[in-house]
């Protein structure tokens, strides 16, 4: 189990690093997909089989496919050089953004490294998961649904061609 954990964690980290640092967008997107799959493996060895399955179906199987498809459809080689390597300001801005992120995350994650009390890992049953989703976490669940609906409506509004918009 320990070996598997190290293996999958290394895969997740490697995929994430390549996603950020590789210049080729298709390679980046594919590594992100690989990272998602390794994350599903982590869920699996934690006993959350259903979540691992859903992770593969939704993220690796649908979301990342869309990413890869869009990246392949648009040949982004020219645009990305214009966007990301021009001028000093984007670099400074992203540096500050990174510092801000780290400053935000560090205090929250420091106590995570203390060892937890040994727990017996049992496979979480799907029934238990759905019971929690529809009782204890029902508000968060519903809010997430509304958020996704908002995104869908927003995308539809943004993609509508400007000619059809009637200005009153």
């Amino acid at each position: 189990m320990e070996i598997l954990f190290i293996f999958f964690s290394a895969l997740v980290l490697y995929g994430g690093l390549v996603t950020v640092f590789h210049r080729d967008l298709v390679v980046s997107a594919l590594h992100l997909a690989g990272s998602m799959l390794a994350l599903a493996g982590l869920f699996f060895i934690l006993g959350a089989h259903f979540i691992a399955g859903v992770q593969v179906v939704v993220y690796a199987g649908a979301v990342m496919v869309l990413f890869v498809m869009v990246v392949m459809l648009f040949d982004l080689k020219k645009e990305d050089s214009v966007l990301f390597s021009k001028g000093l300001w984007p670099k400074i801005a992203s540096l500050f953004f990174l510092i801000g992120l780290i400053a935000g995350i560090l205090p929250l994650s420091l106590h995570l490294f203390q060892p937890l009390a040994a727990q017996v890992i049992e496979p979480t049953s799907t029934k238990e998961l759905s019971r929690l989703l529809f009782t204890k976490y029902v508000l968060a669940f519903e809010v997430l649904g509304v958020l996704l609906l908002l995104i869908a409506v927003g995308v539809a509004v943004l993609c509508r061609s400007q000619k059809n918009v009637t200005t009153s």
Partner: protein, 379 residues
Amino acid sequence: MDLFEITINLIKIAVIFLLMVQMVPLLVWVERRGSAFIQNRFGPNRIGPLGLVQNLADLVKFLCKEDFLGHKGRKGFFYAAPVLSLIPAALAFGAIPLSTPIKVEAFHWLGQSWGPYIFHFQSFVMGIGIVFVLGVSSLAVYSLLLAGWSSGSKFSLYGALRASAQAISYELALSLSIVGVILLFNTFSFSEMVTAQTGPLSFHFFGEVVTISFLPNWGIFYQPLGAILLFVALFAEANRLPFDLPEAEAELVAGYHTEYSGVKIIMFYMGEYGHMLVASALMVTFYFGGYTFWPFLTPEKINLFLSSLSPTWNSVLTAFILHGVFMFKLLFFLWIFIWVRWTLPRFRYDQLMDLGWKTLLPWALVNTVITGICVFLFA
């Protein structure tokens, strides 16, 4: 786990993978002869009896082909894509139970006693079988996308984009049409589903148990709509005609595998037929009683029939007889796949999307809601 169990399990994994791979030449032969039969032709009939050795000759031809890659192609991805197309089908097929587990009693061999074993008639057992199969087969799109993109050809890219759009659209309908069966049998595991389908058709109806003694308890009698939706969606996922727009040869040369030749294209064929196998196996397991055929061929009856044998051999023989039943049903659905291919013309692209989003998806939702209400009321 001792040495015996590990060895048998490894052999089992290899044999089930080879079973899938070895079905491919057989299916290609059936496809050629079947299409010839449907179109009133002879088909391949010169090499070997009934043209059975034709595929071997074709294999030699494929092996001798030049390994070609256009100068705009991306080499690594180009070589990885055919291999990737084989993996999802193989993994998904390995998770489907092909027969009852074999129970081996404790025995003495080589001066050592070997404990009792249970060997499942599948490569590996997953508690979340259905979700696993769905997840793994949703990864098949990557191979098509990579193949089309890395070829560096416009036709290939068009084919790949069509393929991925189609796969994503039909995946929703596919998953939703399965929800009905999951609600009905209240399990994610394939073998529990098969066990629930062994016996006469009986259900609760307002507190009374209704039993129809001449029909088996198959999913198709509860979920006819779900079965049709699933079958259509599986056709689309397997990129078979009438949904073979990714490789529509009249428009796109050969779609995503335009630039491929030789052994690599054989691997794509294996992937495609592997998907057909998985699709047929899912139909059989969800809606047609899996590896049992009530009232004649159930594990109990065969056990009783073979009761003069020792328990181990009894179990082995039972498993293989039931595996025959499963293969018979599987071949029937594979024949339907081939039959439909040579009967229906291809959809237009907008018709394909309309069917996926405006017909299959709403009906799958309706099916889910109605099944939920019925299960809540009657169970």
